[in-house]
């Protein structure tokens, strides 16, 4: 990186806000998609909107590409650095700016960690609903970038349903303040458009989110199955019966084993083929009715034991095990590839079987742990990125799984985004004109295409637009 640029940035961000040393930069070379790596030329860590804007103006002047980054827990390569680019991390923007208990909303800096917001809200009897399994690490900004979900999004919906306002720094350093909650929004819903933009439109620096009152009663149930198929069928039944638990998660045998041998051992019995976590929330009567209706359905599908968490501590343990499942897979292999696809919930059993068959046919192991209620599959494939041949089989299996899900009427991504990982798959899902239209939306935000280039939208799909668009065409 040009020494002058570094100097200019240091003048704004201070010495500790600009990481130029290779030993430090190397730690930013990937997000959770471990095999996609590039050591960034520079990493900067602004502390607020003003610093972010000033830094982005400088980068704009020098025509330098930008990759936004929260905690780097993304699983699709959204935060993977790009050649010649600067990573802008939000890790020093972690203040909860305001909790407005009366209006049930909070204004936070983008780098606030999801669970820290939840803790801050709890003091007011409120909570922030989207709870990705990575919530102890991931940032609200990253959640906005990916429109993240989580177990409880079955009931409450994903991030986009909870974001009320944003302060955005545009690629040229201009600040766009969309933070005033406008019930009667005039014009387009730009906030809605930004959520899920995977860092291609700008950097969100402040985020206003809705908070919900903590439900008076919560019951967490653990159902044990001798067979994964049966667990999937039970989910289809719950959905068909129009029951409204707040979360339905399934963990299979390999996942249970990994979790139980970790510090997060939750007390899932070993040797069972699948456990299902079901949670019901609401008033006492509501919860009782839901639970009473759910139990017989699970038993009818072969659940041989249905338990309820006795207290808050046990509840927390059951969830910690679920949420630590990814990390626990580190006991199985150095790297983990998590596919993320959505299928119609009537077809869970069939698709889960197919994913297993696809992996086994390639000599790969597979662990299934997923947001069953949403039909959001997460086949986890352990691998070692140093083994290129194995990695090739893993990616091939991932493609096959996605294709099978799309063929079944599902979609490319449930919550992890497209990033680098699924950029090729965009063309299985969308036609040329569809992609063109998306490119034009992007160009409205970032005409020079300097934000997170090479992610989300396949480049050649955009070429069409680019030759027609004078701004894109000059580059």
């Amino acid at each position: 990186m040009d020494a002058r640029v570094v100097e200019e940035l240091r003048a704004i961000l201070g010495h500790s806000g600009v990481l130029a040393e290779r030993a430090r930069r190397v730690t930013y070379e990937s997000d959770g998609l471990a095999f996609a790596r590039h050591v960034p030329e520079l990493v900067i860590l602004p502390r607020d909107t003003r610093e972010t804007a000033a830094a982005m103006r400088i980068l704009h002047t020098h025509g330098i590409p930008i990759v936004p980054r929260g905690a780097g827990t993304g699983l699709s390569g959204g935060a993977t650095p790009v050649a010649g680019g600067v990573v802008i991390g939000t890790a020093r923007m972690r203040d909860v700016l305001e909790i407005d208990a009366e209006n049930r909303c909070a204004r936070v800096q983008a780098g606030v960690v999801n669970v820290d917001l939840t803790h801050a809200a709890a003091e007011h009897g409120l909570f922030y609903a989207p709870d990705p399994s990575s919530q102890k690490a991931c940032t609200i900004g990253g959640n906005v970038g990916e429109n993240s979900g989580g177990p409880h999004c079955f009931r409450y919906g994903s991030t986009t349903r909870h974001v009320l306002g944003l302060v955005i720094v545009l690629p040229d350093g201009e600040v766009l303040d969309l933070s005033r909650p406008a019930v009667d929004a005039q014009g387009y819903d730009l906030v809605g458009l930004f959520v899920g933009s995977e860092g291609l439109f700008g950097i969100a620096t402040e985020i206003t989110v809705a908070l919900l009152p903590v439900p008076p009663v919560t019951v967490t149930m653990l159902a044990l199955f001798r067979d994964l198929d049966a667990a999937c069928d039970a989910v289809s039944d719950l959905i068909a019966a129009r029951l409204e638990p707040s979360a339905i998660e399934i963990l299979d045998e390999l996942t249970i084993e990994a979790v139980e041998s970790s510090v997060l051992a939750a007390g899932y019995p070993k040797g069972v083929k699948a456990v299902m976590l079901v949670e019901a929330e609401g008033s006492e009567a509501e919860v009782a009715a839901t639970v009473d209706a759910i139990e017989p359905l699970l038993v009818a599908r072969g659940a041989f034991d249905v338990r309820r968490a006795r207290d808050e501590a046990e509840r927390a343990r059951l969830w910690a095990g679920r949420k630590g499942a990814y990390g626990a897979m580190g006991r199985v292999a150095p790297d983990l590839y998590v596919c993320d696809a959505v299928v119609p919930r009537t077809k869970l059993r069939e698709l889960v079987r197919q994913t297993i068959a696809i992996c086994h046919a390639r000599g790969l192991r597979i662990a299934n742990v997923f947001h069953a209620g949403d039909g959001n599959l997460h086949p986890n494939i352990p691998y070692d990125r140093r083994n290129a041949e194995e990695l090739r089989r893993v990616l091939e299996a991932g493609d096959e799984i996605l294709k099978a899900c799309i063929a079944a009427g599902g979609s490319l991504t449930g919550e992890h985004g497209v990033g680098l990982e699924k950029i090729g798959a965009m063309e299985w899902m969308f036609t040329g004109p569809d992609l063109d239209a998306q490119c034009r939306v992007r160009d409205a935000w970032d005409p020079l295409r300097r934000m997170n280039p090479g992610k989300l939208l396949p480049v050649h799909a955009c070429r069409e637009t680019r030759t027609r668009d004078p701004r894109g065409g000059t580059r």
């Binding site: 500790s16 990481l19 040393e21 290779r22 030993a23 430090r24 190397v26 730690t27 930013y28 070379e29 990937s30 959770g32 471990a34 050591v39 990493v43 860590l45 905690a71 780097g72 827990t73 991390g89 890790a91 020093r92 972690r94 780098g111 960690v113 669970v115 820290d116 990575s134 102890k136 690490a137 991931c138 979790v259 041998s261 970790s262 510090v263 997060l264 630590g324 499942a325 990814y326 990390g327 626990a328 897979m329 580190g330 006991r331 150095p334 790297d335 983990l336 070692d384």
Partner: protein
């Protein structure tokens, strides 16, 4: 073994256990402070792996990130993948040390500290005498100036108590009242010089609970500071001495006595002592046996005969008034030895103690062995938010169970002007139970 081979610089296989999930980030004090990935557990492991794979050099920046780590092992407690971070870091520091750019003065300092002082009771005593004289004569500021940046920590160094306080423990103290058994007690290297009062309270408590207390005359240091600070050779030599010293303390039947430790850092090291003697099967076996019979004082008093002894003591006491007390988990007790409940249970049972939880009690206070001497500014930045948390509890006593933490807290509290006393668990029992029992009318 080729010392230039980058794979030898780190525990490469161990580093592969990290699956990059990020669950450790938010609990790491140095990451919370800076937001810098390479100052996080995930980032530090990433650097180690990058070094082994030839992607980076073992340069000053790499070294600085290793040094910045507190070795508090908070990351281990939360890691679902079971990464042995403490071990990875000790290994990386040890392998890096010979290749470091250190000034002659720094080298000399390390040799004096690690090879001379911590190996020799007489030398420690000598430094205590000179140090106290210098502190009283106000010469410390001068020495700190002469030593330059390296001497920065001197100014914040703990004040050395008078000679009357710096006495050794008796080799044998008999049980008081009904005898329940016998234990060995680790006296520690700097404990007698800096925190003799804590040691004596520990002996009084153990004896009052019904245990004979044996102390090794020859033993000086267990080597934990060496292991943490990149001195594996020193750690090995001291491990061998430690094994010999405590294998020699036996009961009537000739079986080695359980070893009670009142310093969490030493206890944690002793429980993993085999790491210090790799590739020596006989020593490894004896180290493991010693590890199995090592107990932190909190563990000892919360289980079995120790707990019975304490219960019997407490039964005799009625509290006069109540004191609000808060507990700060020493990292090497909580994260190193996974002991969380025991000290809290003990404190709750002590008459006259009202235990209130302090926010972030589970996070490092910045003492981290000799970290607060080597990186005083960072240590202060780590402690500052905890001082706020302490204020918020309204407690008048802060309890912990590790000498470094006691000194770090005492220094911070003095600086911040908070009126809180710092006590070791043993001192709490000594004061609230033993002294109370001997009070007329109690």
């Amino acid at each position: 073994m080729d010392p230039r081979d980058p794979q030898q610089l780190v525990d490469y296989v161990g580093s592969l256990d990290c699956i990059h999930c990020g669950l450790c980030l938010n609990t790491c004090p140095t990451y919370r402070l800076t937001g810098v990935e390479s100052s996080s557990p995930r980032g530090r492991i990433h650097m180690m792996r990058a070094l082994a794979e030839g992607a980076i050099e073992a340069d000053a920046d790499y070294a600085d990130e290793l040094d910045f780590c507190l070795l508090c092992r908070n990351c281990e407690t939360v890691c679902p993948s079971g990464v042995q971070f403490g071990h990875l870091m000790e290994h990386a520091r040890g392998a890096l040390e010979p290749r470091r750019d250190r000034t002659a003065f720094q080298r000399l300092g390390r040799r004096v500290g690690f090879d001379l002082l911590l190996r020799d009771r007489g030398a420690l005593r000598f430094v205590a005498v000179v140090g106290r004289a210098a502190q009283r004569a106000g010469l410390v500021g001068l020495a700190a100036r002469i030593a330059g940046p390296a001497g920065h920590g001197l100014r914040d160094a703990p004040s050395i108590p008078p000679a009357s306080e710096r006495t050794r423990l008796p080799v044998f103290t008999p049980a008081l009242g009904a005898r329940r058994g016998a234990v060995a007690l680790l006296e520690g290297c700097v404990m007698p010089e800096l925190l003799g009062a804590t040691n004596r309270a520990t002996v009084r408590v153990l004896a009052a609970c019904g245990f004979d207390v044996h102390v090794s005359r020859q033993h000086v240091c267990c080597g934990s500071l060496h292991a943490h600070n990149g001195e594996p050779a020193g750690a090995r030599a001291l491990a061998v001495e430690t094994i010999a010293a405590f294998d020699a303390l036996v009961d009537e039947a000739g079986a080695p006595l359980p070893l009670v430790v009142n310093s969490a850092g030493c206890g944690s090291h002793l429980k993993e002592l085999a790491h210090a003697v790799p590739g020596e099967p006989d020593h490894e076996r004896r180290a493991q046996a010693l590890s199995r019979r090592t107990l932190d004082l909190c563990e000892f008093l919360a289980r079995g005969a120790g707990a019975e002894g304490l219960a019997a003591l407490i039964a005799n006491v009625r509290a006069r008034d109540t004191v609000r007390v808060t507990w700060d988990d020493p990292c090497h007790l909580l994260h190193g030895q996974r002991i969380r409940r025991e000290p809290r249970d003990i404190l709750r049972r002590v008459p006259g103690v009202e235990l209130v939880e302090m926010e972030a009690a589970e996070s490092c206070c910045g003492s981290a062995g000799i970290y607060s001497l080597l990186r005083p500014d960072d240590a202060t930045r780590i402690l500052d938010p905890k001082l706020e948390a302490l204020r918020a509890t309204g407690a008048s006593v802060l309890v912990t169970a590790n000498p470094g933490c006691q000194l770090q807290w005492a220094a911070g509290i003095r600086r911040a002007g908070v009126g809180v006393r710092v006590l070791h668990v043993a001192e709490v029992i000594d004061e609230f139970v033993l002294s109370a029992a001997s009070r007329p009318g109690a």
